[in-house]
Symmetry: C2
Subunit: 111 residues, 2 copies
């Protein structure tokens, strides 16, 4: 490409894009849905659940953790992940802040 020109855009635009990117892979969606389902926080039986290699899952988990959507805690020899509820609701608000901006327009105003 050439790098994304982050400096051309507002903080909010970049933030939305980064968050959207973290959701831009079906494996990460699946991980989040799995965590939402089993609210008891589940570790790497995601590896069994999804059909991906352990290293790949771990990589996706790290991305979700980097944007703050999930958090992990050590549980003996294994790792326990869960949704970060605060971040989760803040993301929902951020997205809806954009989604809600739609305005219905007259017959000549739209294409």
């Amino acid at each position: 490409m050439g790098v994304t020109k982050t400096d051309l855009f507002t903080k909010e635009q970049n933030e939305l894009a980064v968050l959207a990117k973290s959701l831009a892979h079906p494996a990460r969606i699946a991980i989040l849905q799995y965590l939402l389902e089993s609210n008891k926080c589940i570790n790497g039986d995601l590896v069994n659940e999804l059909g991906l290699a352990q290293a790949t899952i771990s990589q996706h988990l790290r991305e979700l953790k980097n944007v703050g959507l999930i958090q992990g805690s050590i549980e003996g020899v294994s790792m326990s992940y869960c949704i970060n509820p605060e971040k989760w609701s803040s993301i929902q608000k951020l997205f809806n802040g954009m989604f809600d901006k739609i305005q219905n327009c007259g017959p000549d105003e739209c294409c």
Copy 2:
């Protein structure tokens, strides 16, 4: 990478990921925000508005059009783009369908 293994995931998971990907760039967020603001549907003065080359903007517009978020109509020599309201609200529902699934859990259930 190796290609995303689409077949491992559900239709909904893939759909969410594709839509998220279309939002996963600040330029596309900026384009959408601009279209939301000026509900009269604006054409390629996006090129002036954002600081990107014409070809780059056109490429981003095509991506947004491909997922159905925007639609364009020819207006003389120029092109008029606007948000597709039906798709827009369907996306909002799809995302909120996931966001709303969060459940508060007891002290021992979360990590």
